[in-house]
């Protein structure tokens, strides 16, 4: 692969090319699922290809191919250059990049148990065990369980002289129980919705999560929701579990701090951001309890956004985003950092495979733990506690959001007094984060994986990490999803 990357780079470096980088990627995937006691899907996928990115005539050009012959590389390099030159027809200024060093390194993410070394029948056997446990509850009308494993090796080579060979292994697993009753559908998931938990780990993730041990409880809750009261509408204190808070961070902090959005690059599709440049170091994003970082380093944890180098050869970094409630940082690339006069990219450029260009993507955007115990977070006269995302939506500048959760409980004097169904909450981003008055400590902090974040044209789907512990917010609008 290193040789291939070198040959591709050689072909890209022709007269008039000011910069070039190539990414050669080989990936292997295994996806397994069960449904109602049977195999849902089972597939093993392999892919290999190269993406070549150049700056010529002051413009970007990119071409990707799975034809890894000399002729294929030649064609792709020539196409990337031709595409770049065509961009001069609508150019305002030459692309400028913040400086970066050259690196030669080989890095692999740590895994304890290779998921591809575990037999498929063992993995399917575990899913079927979970499935059987869910369906032991007669109220469960649909049971689903899944595992996903990806190993991707990428060799990055650039005209700066970098040669970076990275291998990442990610694992994911989870299950859900549906209960259909009386013209309503209720659902519970473990450990999170939409596929469960995903991390930069091997099969040890599956072992740690004890899927079978949680199945009976989740099935019981799915059925019990039909007897629960409808979540009330009004203003209440709100407590969120860490998985829902992870998605809240993703949507209302992670996306608006993408500097390419701020600068207008995504205006036609994913949208822009309310965090215009004048707000840097001036906006009170949240209460003084709120501290958020964007951290791709392994020290932060085994997140879907953990790596050694980003996809334009910049080392993983920890960037403060919100300090004591104050907005202090964006996620940047070499191009956007230069555009706002910052000396260096903070390393957040990531691509969805070899066929797509890197874009600014969340790495691990995490809310740092607070100081309260979990009992202290729940120590309130009256609140609504919500768990596990069911729906999520936010406007294209990332102000107004609405989330729905699978389950809620009414809290009175620190104790759960009744289960509530169909909970939703909504608000304006900065009002919400300024209403934060309690965050649980590190004992309750989890680095969640969001495997399906979409951005860009053509759309790229990538995994992001979000650490959070349960937190409390004052006077939040609850119930709008079912109002009116």
């Amino acid at each position: 692969m290193r040789d291939l990357a070198g040959r591709a780079l050689d072909r890209a470096l022709r007269n008039g090319v000011a910069y070039a980088d190539v990414r050669v990627i080989e990936s292997r995937e295994r996806h397994l699922s069960t449904k109602n006691g049977k195999i849902g899907h089972i597939s093993a996928n392999e892919s290999a290809g190269v993406g070549i990115r150049v700056i010529a005539a002051g413009c970007w050009g990119f071409a990707a191919t799975d034809d890894l012959t000399s002729e294929g590389l030649e064609r792709a390099a020539a196409l990337a250059i031709a595409i770049a030159r065509s961009g001069a027809a609508a150019k305002k200024a030459d692309v400028q990049l913040a400086p970066e060093n050259a690196y030669q390194i080989t890095w692999s993410s740590p895994t304890v148990v290779d998921p591809f070394a575990i037999s498929i029948d063992q993995q399917i056997g575990l899913l079927l065990q979970v499935d059987a446990e869910l369906r032991r509850n007669p109220g469960v009308t649909l049971s689903e369980a899944s595992m996903d494993f990806v190993r991707s090796r990428q060799v990055f080579a650039s005209s700066l002289g970098s040669l970076i060979d990275q291998t990442r292994t990610t694992s994911g697993c989870g299950f859900c129980a549906y209960a259909y009753q009386d013209d309503a559908i209720q659902k519970r998931s473990y450990p999170n919705s939409f596929g469960g938990q995903f991390q930069l780990k091997g099969y040890e993730l599956v072992q740690e999560l004890d899927l079978p041990g949680n199945a009976a409880r989740i099935a019981e809750q799915a059925v019990a929701l039909h007897s629960a009261d409808q979540c009330p509408e009004g203003e209440f204190h709100l407590i969120l579990d860490s998985s829902q808070l992870g998605l809240q961070i993703h949507e209302s902090i992670g996306h608006p701090i993408e500097l390419d959005r701020v600068l207008g690059s995504e205006a036609n599709y994913a949208g822009t951001s309310f965090l215009t440049l004048d707000k840097l170091n001036r906006l009170r994003y949240g209460s003084e309890l709120v501290n958020v970082v964007c951290d791709a380093r392994l020290e932060h944890g085994p997140g879907l956004g953990t790596f050694a180098f980003d996809d334009e050869g910049v080392p993983a970094q920890c960037t403060p985003i919100i300090q004591d409630g104050q907005f202090v940082g964006y996620m940047t690339s070499r191009e956007t950092a230069a555009a706002i006069g910052q000396p260096r990219s903070n390393g957040t450029m990531r691509a969805d495979g070899w066929a797509r260009i890197p874009l600014i993507r969340m790495t691990n955007v995490s809310l740092l733990p607070g100081r309260q115990t979990l009992d202290e977070v729940f120590d309130v006269d009256h609140a609504i506690y919500m768990e596990t995302n069911r729906s999520w939506s936010i406007d294209d500048k990332r102000y107004n959001f609405q989330f729905g959760c699978e389950i809620a409980w009414e809290i009175r004097n620190g104790r759960r007094v009744r289960m509530l169904k169909n909970p939703t909450y909504s608000g304006i981003t900065t009002n919400f984060w300024n209403a934060c008055d309690a965050i649980a400590n590190r004992d309750h902090w989890t680095l969640w994986g969001v495997p399906n974040c979409g951005k860009g044209q053509p759309e790229q789907v990538i995994g992001t990490g979000h650490g959070a512990s349960p937190a409390r917010f004052r006077n939040i609008r609850i119930g709008a999803g079912y109002a009116g």
């Binding site: 597939s43 392999e46 036609n268 107004n400």
Partner: protein, 456 residues
Amino acid sequence: MPGSSVESDLLTRKDCEQTFHYAQQAARERGVTAIELLLEASSHALTRFANNAIHQNVAEQSRRASVRVIVDGRTARAATNRLDRDSLSRAVDQAIEVAKSLEFDPDLLPLAEPRAIADCNRFFASTAECSPEERARVVAEAIGVVESAGQTTAGAYSTAQTTEAILNSRGVFAYHSETLARFSITAMTADSSGWAKASSPDRLAFDPLELARRAALKAELSRAPREIMPGRYTVILEPAAVLDLVGQMFGDFSATALEDRRSFLAGRLNQKLFGENINISDDVYHPLQAGPAFDGEGVPRRRLALVENGVPREVAYSRAAARRAGVEPTGHGFPVPNEFGEAPVNIVMQGGDATIDDIIASTDHGILVTRLWYIREVDPFEKIMTGMTRDGTFLIEAGRVACGVRNFRFNQSLIELLNNVDLMMPAERAAGEEAFDMVAPGLRARNFNFTEVTRF
């Protein structure tokens, strides 16, 4: 007019036969005779612009082979993007290894048998041969339109060709090549925006400059937006908004979803559910539709009357779901094995004969919506969807566009929406961002539920 019948150079019929031969030979050497091969090849190019300049400009070419084997009542799939003999042989090995590790499945069907498949010719050389220079020229002109209005623009112009084929050891050989062009543009002022988008197999079937003018006009008309109270309003949804909202419900028109009791149609088929004026079909043969006329097992698609005069009638059946129900498959199955079964993907919603001007002129008080955004399901059985308006939301008063308004969040049941439609425009090929492109009309509906307003 459809283009000439073209066999794509990306993946010819002969390539398909050769590749299948490799896979079949590898399987036979391991004693496996039941084999299915899905082949895909695509070439996609996209020129993206923002801040009145091209900023991302890309092309990708890829292929994929996905092999399924059946071994003693067990099936599994393996995929690779390398189509050489060794890579295919490895994929066959993987599929066999996985299949052998599974339990016997008494419900597993044999591979599909060959059936006649109609030719849906959707390949246009104008799109397939579009050069980077041509895309850049069109983009530069579109930027000029918006820039000359004193506005800023962003958007994307893409051209693509794809080939899909399915071959199996019982003789199925289904093959389809098509092209697709898309142009999307957003025009922005300091406090407003407008948007327009079109898609077609033939890039010459739409005019990017007209789309640029439309986006710029919407941005101009929505300057200085007023904030008005959320609540129940008469709403005029342009075709893209209809597509993105109504398009959220068709996954439920699936026999497997009904069996699983995750469809909102459970207990509601053949009963009046929507207004009398709602008629929706799935029709891959419609001249404004796209995609192959066969499904993930090579079964020919047939037209489905999904909703007739407000009554949900037909749903899609894969081969497996059809066998369980004792009916014929409809040609909407996903590649096997999968847990979702099937879904209609070529939606045609019948329109009316009102023009957008007619609808506005006859509306005393309402909201005109260009586009919706970030639509998600709040309630799966009442089909309550939430989302935001975006890029051109207007107050209509006394039959005229009064002003732009700040964008709303809605929480709206699709069942209720489709009971409240009173006027429709003729159906067109609509392009959005939240659902498959479909043939859909703009429409007016009463009592649309806007629940919150945002800050722009």
